[in-house]
């Protein structure tokens, strides 16, 4: 049986022998241990071992990619032959390329071996705490898993990286039941370096559970109005998804991004600064090497409202002539503001505290609409009542320009770090 480095060497040689002028190989070995809960009961312990090899070949500027999850010689030989055929079938494109030479490096983070007893202990502790503190809560689905990934990257330009990453990941979805009345479900997730802290104290879990117990009685807002929306850290993701989509290859290459000509221009309020920090102490589930085989860099995407970087791949960069990001996106950090959340609420004349957004994908222009879930009506600076059957709509690009305040408080989810954001000018409609 070959070692991971021998597998990489063998694969590159096979691709070279078969005629690839440029080639790259990515091998990832993953071991995962997971404890599961459903409907407040422990249900399953799960262990998975997986292998992933991605072979990329470029021949005469034509590119092909094959992914398999076997690392024996026969499978690699077969995949190498197939990827050459896939590449030969493609179209010539001079933007197809691989990373330039960089010195080899080994990166490490987190624990290699899971503490299964501690995983069970923390989950059991959570169940007991919720039973005592929030007896109406039903944990619909909860899982805590430890994942250890050994990733090896090599290409025909001599690049050679190794990353060893161990991380605990937690996901919970829950609802609240009071006799016949039921709440909307809510959910959250976070990543942890270790299990030193109780789960209830991590991310927004306690905040959401506390709110949910009072959400079995809701009512729609009355009529339609233009108001303010305070977006919770869990709901900020919807904005980040739109930004990612609009700043990445497909939208920039095709010209459908509203930000295609906006580099170094103001695209948001000067209160907003957004980073992608895949390599930082506060992000436990980041990455050290980009998919293209460059050492990942922390970048600023928006600096005081000004667009500083696209999220282009090597292909996207060469295709458009714009700068390569040295970053695959994700691991977002939004800089905290100067206003306390309580004060942000006090500043709202009429609006909502948006805890979860359930909506259709925003259009390319940023128009969005959807339901404000697990959310609250705010009037005259006070939270009034939990709402249901209330829709919000607006335009994300306009919303970014209309940011009024960003909270002092930040939530570290372990995979991103986000504050509350208050925006004005959103259409809110109830019954």
């Amino acid at each position: 049986m070959m070692s991971p480095k021998e597998i990489l060497k063998y694969s590159l040689e096979a691709l070279n022998r078969l005629g690839a002028q440029k080639s790259q190989v990515n091998l990832t070995l993953t071991e995962k241990h997971e404890v599961n809960l459903e409907a407040n009961e422990f249900t399953m312990v799960r262990t998975t071992f997986d292998t992933a090899i991605v072979l990329t070949a470029i021949k005469d500027n034509k590119k092909g990619t094959i992914s398999i999850n076997k690392s024996d010689i026969k499978s690699i030989d077969s995949a190498a032959q197939d990827v050459i055929l896939v590449a030969e079938a493609s179209l010539k494109d001079e933007a197809n390329d691989i990373a330039e030479y960089q010195p080899s490096k080994v990166f490490s983070s987190g624990e290699k071996t899971p503490d299964l007893e501690m995983m069970y202990y923390r989950m059991n502790e959570l169940v007991k705490q919720i039973k005592e503190k929030y007896p109406k809560i039903i944990l619909i689905q909860v899982f805590l898993y430890h994942e250890f990934k050994e990733s090896y990257f090599a290409n025909s330009n001599g690049v050679g990286y190794v990353s060893n990453q161990g991380v605990y990941n937690f996901f919970a979805m829950f609802s609240s039941k009071d006799k016949e009345k039921t709440s909307s479900f809510n959910y959250t997730s976070f990543s942890l370096k270790d299990l030193g802290k109780e789960l209830l104290s991590c991310g927004t879990l306690d905040i959401l559970l506390k709110q949910l117990k009072e959400q079995t009685t809701t009512r729609p807002v009355e009529g339609k109005f233009i108001g303010d929306v305070i977006i919770s850290p869990d709901a900020v993701n919807d904005i980040l998804d739109f930004l990612t989509r609009s700043l990445s290859d497909n939208a920039i290459i095709s010209g459908t991004s509203i930000y295609k000509n906006k580099l170094e221009k103001q695209i948001a309020s000067s209160l907003l600064t957004v980073y992608s920090h895949p390599v930082s102490e506060e992000i436990y589930n980041g990455y050290f090497v980009t998919k293209d085989g460059y050492e990942a860099k922390n970048i600023t995407i928006i600096d005081k409202g000004v667009l500083k970087n696209f999220l282009l791949s090597l292909y996207g960069s060469k295709k458009t002539g714009l700068k390569y990001a040295y970053n695959d996106g994700g691991a977002f950090v939004i800089e905290k503001g100067e206003t306390a959340l309580d004060d942000m609420i006090k500043l709202v004349k009429k609006g909502i505290l948006l805890m979860r957004f359930s909506g259709g994908y925003p259009s390319d222009s940023g128009d969005f609409s959807g339901v404000a879930k697990n959310s609250y009506l705010i009037e005259d600076g006070k939270i009034k009542y939990p709402i249901s059957e209330t829709m919000i709509s607006g335009n994300i690009a306009e919303m970014l320009m209309n940011i009024q305040a960003i909270s002092k408080e930040q939530i570290n989810f372990g995979w991103q770090v986000l504050p509350w954001i208050s925006v004005k000018g959103v259409t809110i409609s109830g019954k």
């Binding site: 459903e38 409907a39 422990f42 249900t43 399953m44 312990v45 799960r46 262990t47 998975t48 071992f49 590119k63 092909g64 990619t65 094959i66 992914s67 398999i68 999850n69 076997k70 055929l85 896939v86 590449a87 079938a89 493609s90 179209l91 039903i138 619909i140 689905q141 609802s175 609240s176 039921t182 709440s183 909307s184 479900f185 339609k224 497909n250 290459i253 095709s254 010209g255 459908t256 292909y315 359930s358 909506g359 259709g360 994908y361 925003p362 259009s363 390319d364 222009s365 128009d367 609409s369 959807g370 339901v371 249901s388 059957e389 829709m391 709509s393 607006g394 259409t427 409609s429 019954k431």
Partner: protein, 459 residues
């Protein structure tokens, strides 16, 4: 997929155990404005085992499919079940079972096309678009294929060997109108491998003409007036209503998780015009888009009647939820990858057709919307659902009016379905999307056009 005699490992099962070997094979070719931005194939295969001990499950999987790996996953799954059983000691009895032996293969019998021939097929569609339409800002053509091969043996005697493929070509057209990008897209295809689903690029000519017509209409479209409106949900997307509005709330695990459908069996929850069924594999004599014959717990499937003439009739079950509710399992336990455990998932969820025609339904509305294509959707424990609408038209005085821009509709399913006053006599299936619930899953969604009151987003 590598053929393995699973029966040789049966003696290693020390408690109720499932042993599954599976391979998911995918292909993706993406053209963006004539450039191939993705040209890839992937294969994910391996073996998994799941063991049940007094109410606790243990699961293990390995990417290697060898005697050593199979023995290892059976042992690891058993050890995991023992670990949990020692902690929680649920003392639950044996699971119900309905065993069967099924072999099904939907592979094409035709010669397979090469990657080059597939690329040429897409290139021809791309060239057709550029030849006909010169004002597009961007065009995107994506071919996605997925073959799922499974081989399952359970300790209570069920056996499955199946190969279920699906193939879709997604086409997206964009133009810039008044400085704003406008996009329409659609998916074409269904169950089967490429050779059985598509025959010639020229078959796309009418589809592209229709898509372009919608693009031009949408570029001149308006944002809807938000609020409660009378709408016709077209047959193409009524299945999304069946899936999001009702389907998820009657998955037995969500019922146990607090769904509003708990305790409502036998109650009227919709108009008597509404009947909803989660079909296992066959609907009105035709094979469904995502046929399931034995689920991943080895249960011989049966159709799950969810709502009959407006009355809630039942939930979708796996073995464990069936045991809890004291009913028969329906065969809804499905796993996506070899390394995934089976969860309660929908199969082919559909609203049954009625007696009206779409034309009469449109004529019956003075002021409302006709909603034609959907994007993503989400359900809730309260049955308050939503889904995105990426194509629709105003209805004014019984006639179709201007197109509308992207929007979202929402409502409380048990309220919305009580407002249904007309149901069309035809039925369409949609199966290009994914359902997400810990794991992705292929599902079929079907139905006729529905006239109802629903909340629409807009400005």
């Amino acid at each position: 997929m590598k053929t393995i005699d699973l029966y040789q490992y049966k003696e290693l099962f020390s408690a109720y155990t499932e042993l599954r070997v599976q391979e998911n094979t995918e292909l993706n070719i993406t053209f963006v404005d004539g450039n191939i931005t993705k040209n890839s194939q992937s294969s994910t295969s391996g073996v998994s085992s799941r063991t049940y001990l007094n109410g606790s499950w243990g699961f293990a999987s390995h990417a290697e499919i060898s005697e050593e790996a199979i023995k290892k996953v059976i042992k690891e799954a058993t050890d995991n079940a023992k670990f949990l059983d020692a902690k929680v000691n649920k003392r639950k009895g044996p699971l119900p079972s309905r065993v069967a032996h099924v072999e099904k293969d939907f592979s094409t019998k035709k010669a397979r096309l090469t990657q080059k021939e597939l690329i040429d097929f897409l290139k021809e569609i791309d060239e057709m678009i550029t030849r006909k339409y010169h004002n597009l800002t961007s065009r995107r053509i994506i071919l996605n294929t997925l073959d799922i091969e499974k081989n399952l043996l359970t300790s209570d005697g069920s056996y499955l060997k199946a190969m279920i493929p699906r193939t879709f070509i997604h086409i997206s057209l964009s133009l810039i109108k008044d400085g704003e990008p406008v996009t329409v897209f659609d998916a074409y295809g269904g169950r089967g491998q490429f050779e059985d689903v598509f025959s010639s690029p020229s078959d796309f000519e009418e589809k592209i003409d229709e898509l372009y017509r919608h693009l031009v209409n949408k570029s001149e479209g308006v944002l809807p007036d938000p609020g409660m409106k009378t709408c016709i949900i077209d047959a193409e997307i009524a299945g999304v209503l069946a899936h999001e509005a009702i389907g998820h709330t009657v998955e037995a695990d969500l019922v146990l998780g607090g769904s509003v459908a708990a305790g409502k069996i036998g109650q009227e929850v919709a108009s008597p015009l509404i009947s909803i069924v989660d079909f296992a594999n066959t609907c009105f004599g035709e094979t469904c888009p995502v046929p399931v014959y034995i689920d991943d717990e080895g249960t011989e499937v049966k159709d799950a009647i969810l709502i009959e003439n407006g009355v809630l009739k039942g939930y979708m079950h796996n073995k464990e939820s069936a045991q809890y509710f004291g009913v028969e399992p329906t065969g809804n336990a499905r796993a996506y990858l070899f390394s995934d455990e089976p969860l309660i998932r929908m199969r082919n969820t559909a609203i049954l057709p009625g007696n009206d025609t779409l034309e009469k339904m449109i004529e019956s509305i003075d002021d409302g919307y006709y909603l034609v294509k959907a994007s993503n959707g989400q359900a809730d424990t309260t049955s308050e659902f939503m889904f995105g609408v990426r194509l629709g038209y105003e209805i004014k005085n019984g006639k179709l009016g201007r197109a509308i821009k992207d929007t979202t509709i929402s409502g409380v399913a048990f309220d919305v379905l009580k407002t249904v006053t007309m149901v069309s006599n035809d039925m369409k299936w949609e199966s290009s999307g994914w359902c997400g619930k810990k794991q992705p899953m292929t599902v079929g969604m079907g139905g006729p056009a529905i006239k109802c009151q629903i909340n629409i987003g807009g400005r």
